[in-house]
Amino acid sequence: MTEKNMNPANNSAADGVAPLSKVQQKVAVSLNRRHRHEKLFKGVGLVASLISLLLVAILFINIFSKGLPAFWQSAITLEIYFDPEIIKISDKPVQRADETDNAFRQRDIEWQSEVGMINFNRLIVEGLNKVLPDANQYRRDVQRIVTSGERFAMRQLVIDNPAIIGQTKTLNLLTDANIDVWLKGNIDRSLPDAQQQLSPKVREWVEMLSEQGIIKNRFSFALFMNADSRSSLASAGLAGAFMGSLYMMLVVLFLAVPMGVAAAIYLEEFAPKNKITDLVEVNINNLAAVPSIVFGLLGAAVFIGWFNLPISAPIVGGLVLSLMTLPTVIIATRSTLKAIPPSIRQAALGLGASKMQATFHHVLPLAIPGILTGAILGVAQALGEAAPLLLIGMKSFVAQVPSGPFEQATALPVQIFLWQGNELRNFFEARTSAAIIVLLALMLTLNGLAIWLRKKYENRW
């Protein structure tokens, strides 16, 4: 071993204390290169992660910077006198003891129609007259200030509480979409009149009212309370789409996830390994590649045509999206099940657990993180999907908030689609992004539990 001592030549042991064997010298020689690779590898990993995060950030900034302003909307504060002269209606009907439900409903509808005949616009114009001295000279322009949907909101006030007639209320009414655009500076103010959406008079009024603080940017509850609207753009809201999406996602969560996990368990743990299961595996992988619109075709044929489920209902949307998500959940679950060491299964079987028990007591808990990842990705995908909804009538304009999964509804991605296609770009560009923010928020909330659980169940051994 003396030759070893005589041979201190090695850079990594330059302090001379560690003479190395021949083999170890070879090792040392290779080390620099390998460490470079190591650093590079780790660096690439870090960079990849940062790039991914950066991409998320870019997309987020992109969406948020556009969308956040849309959560505030300009509204005008007016004193509205519910003038009994204008609102001349009979008393609200009350159900009589001897009356059938149907007959009462008939009467109620008649009464509501009567209320519907009232021109609530006049109330608004009266209110505006109080703040705009020259309003009477510009009758057309006055109509353009408050968005048209507000008159129905007022009618609803009267229907809900006829006692309001004769009172004066201070109300915050949404202004017309174009006024909102104008005040937010989304349209170039220097453009000539021909290119402006607002008439000069309206612009002048708006400037004046907003200086007086009568028109103000307020948090837009309408965005969250109202369903979509096409005739009164400023009062278009997300509530309908949100509820539709929520119902659908609940169906997906409670259908696709358990079913997918069950299928994965069967295929991975129980099914005999033969040509048939190979076929099933290939077939499931293949389903994942089927364009989503094809699932819509299937859903229309099966759920609507066959099972007679209603058109445009979240239940059908949920079923279709479940079928679409199923492969994702199955593949994710199978992948994780594959990675669980057989010794765990053997330990359980050796104790007299049945295969079923071994699977459900030991294997499945270990696979939970992967399953949840599958669920997260599946739900994310399903939530953003619009194409299959087209063929089951959910890619629709629905002006009501659904009260259950069997009611007609639309969905957030559809809403995004409708809004981004709306002509009034200056108004809807921001709204679209706002809707996306809401969609992302819904997605994160739905996935929050999964993310939390996944973190909890993650273990290494």
């Binding site: 690779h37 590898f41 780790k42 990993g45 960079v47 990849a48 992660s49 991914s52 998320v56 997309l59 992109n62 358990p258 079913m259 997918g260 299928a263 069967y266 129980f270 099933v280 992988n285 293949n286 389903l287 994942a288 590649a289 089927v290 364009p291 989503s292 619109i293 094809v294 075709l297 299937l298 044929a301 199923l326 492969p327 593949i331 994710a332 992948s335 994780t336 990675a339 669980i340 010794s343 049945s354 079923m356 993180p369 992967g370 997260i376 990705l377 994310a380 995908q381 953003g384 619009a386 194409a387 995004i416 689609f417 996306i436 997605m443 994160l444 996935n447 993310i451 973190k455 993650e458």
Partner: protein, 465 residues
């Protein structure tokens, strides 16, 4: 009684059966102490519960499916014969009106007397059907409960029965995927055949031009007939492959490296925040990506190309692919991360103990061991890429020309399916029917790709322990 309350009732029955079964199995056990019970008390309970509800449940399903038809045919038999003839409406509509009337719901026009009579009859039938169903279900549930209760003995393999039931459920769940496939194929085959009656398959499969035209351009006045357009699949197929290829070239390295970094290097805090954040990429609606590609990425790539002397079209296979790649990153990164984390520590230790660096361990031991799962993740991502529409619509330039240059505009099969299916074409024309042929073709192609993938994975699979 509504189906919902029936189900609630069944569940209650099941709970009762469960308790009864448990109690009885305990008693049986004490009566014959020398004989060991095959299963645990809760297995017996479960079995009794299942026997109580499963047959009744099947009855419920069968009844709900059949009863409305039976009722309407009974009502239809009662209708005055001349009504059907004279009205000239389909029976379907008459029945709807009658059942609307029977449900006291939404009829605006005045109802005829015969309609009212039929409605009353229908209402009566419905209520007796509901009563009959409730009675029958109660009887069946009680019988199931009683007999299974009586059957409890030490030798009775209750656990087997339960496990067989669970297995049946598992199998049913796996067949859903198969049924979906069958459904998809069936829902497309008929229309595809119709399409091929217009366009010969050879022209479709081997044609190199895609230009379907608008279905009726040329049929209108003053113009000519016979210009049907050309329906060549090849440009679309090549476009699909190119866009998906670019997407995977972006997503696989990026996603895998993210997964590796998160699973092996990153501090726990970084991992648990970064992972869900990156997953958001999968949830951003694709239309957002589309506009992102069109407005931001496309021009950027074009400028970048110009600066290095390449002509890159702003909307091209590259743009669409890159953005799509971004979208599918989480499919690879998150799933692979989970799988990599599953690889037993002993394997890592073995490698590290031999003086391997961490990266060598990862590349040579961990990744191969995790390969089957990772391939699954990649397949899922690839599938997503092939099936994606919106991004391509906006970012690939929608130009179905045959090119091998990823800097050129292309179009893909899925985009074309959506366009042709949802456009304004005549839905009985080849222009619209081609969507089905395309769908079916894509289905077969991806099927073949998956078979190849399966074979490859089988070959390289490493089973630890």
């Amino acid at each position: 009684m509504s189906n919902l309350s029936l189900i609630v009732l069944l569940l209650a029955l099941m709970a009762i059966g469960y308790q009864l079964g448990m109690v009885r199995s305990r008693r049986v056990a004490t009566i014959n102490p020398q004989q060991r019970m095959h299963s645990r008390p809760h297995h017996y309970g479960m079995m009794v519960g299942l026997w109580a509800i499963i047959p009744a449940f099947f009855l419920l399903i069968l009844w709900t499916m059949l009863a409305p038809n039976v009722i309407s045919s009974m009502v239809a038999a009662q209708l005055p014969a001349e009504v059907l003839a004279q009205e000239g409406m389909t029976a379907n509509v008459i029945m709807r009106r009658i059942s609307n009337l029977a449900g006291n719901f939404g009829i605006v026009a005045e109802a005829e007397p015969w309609e009212l009579a039929a409605a009353a009859y229908m209402q009566q039938l419905k209520s007796s059907s509901a009563a009959l169903l409730t009675g029958l279900m109660a009887a069946i549930a009680a019988t199931g409960l009683f007999f299974s209760y009586k059957k409890i003995q030490p030798q009775l393999r209750a656990r087997h029965q339960i496990e067989r039931t669970i297995k049946a459920v598992l199998i049913i769940c796996s067949t859903v995927a198969i049924l979906t496939t069958i459904g998809i194929v069936l829902s497309m085959v008929g229309e595809t055949m119709k399409f091929f009656s217009f366009i010969p398959p050879s022209e479709f499969f081997f044609g190199t031009t895609w230009n379907p035209r608008f279905s009726t351009t040329g049929v209108g006045e003053g113009s000519l007939t016979g210009s049907q357009g050309s329906f060549g699949l090849i440009p679309l197929l090549s476009g699909t492959m190119m866009v998906a290829g670019v997407a995977l070239i972006v997503a696989i390295p990026l996603g895998l490296m993210v997964a590796i970094y998160l699973a092996e290097y990153a501090p726990a805090g970084f991992r648990s925040t970064a992972k869900p954040i990156i997953e958001v990429l999968a949830g951003i609606p694709t239309i957002v990506y589309g506009f992102f590609a069109l407005v931001t990425v496309g021009p950027f790539l074009a400028d970048f190309g110009a600066s290095i002397g390449l002509t890159i079209r702003a909307t091209s296979a590259l743009t669409a692919g890159v953005v799509m790649g971004i979208m599918i990153i989480p499919f690879i990164s998150s799933l692979s991360d989970d799988i990599i984390t599953q690889v037993p520590k002993a394997l890592r230790d073995a490698s590290l103990g031999l003086g391997a660096t961490k990266s060598e361990t990862i590349r040579k031991v961990v990744l191969p061991a995790a390969l089957p799962g990772i391939v699954g993740a990649v397949l899922l991502a690839a599938s997503r890429a092939i099936g994606e529409t919106m991004i391509v619509v906006l970012a690939a330039g929608n130009s179905p020309t045959l090119t091998a240059n990823p800097f050129e505009a292309v179009s893909t099969i899925t985009v074309t399916i959506v366009n042709q299916l949802t456009g304004d074409n005549d839905f009985a024309s080849p222009q619209s029917l081609v969507a089905f042929a395309l769908g079916l073709t894509l289905f077969v192609i991806t099927l073949l790709l998956n078979v190849v993938a399966l074979v490859v994975v089988r070959k390289y699979r490493e089973q630890y322990e």
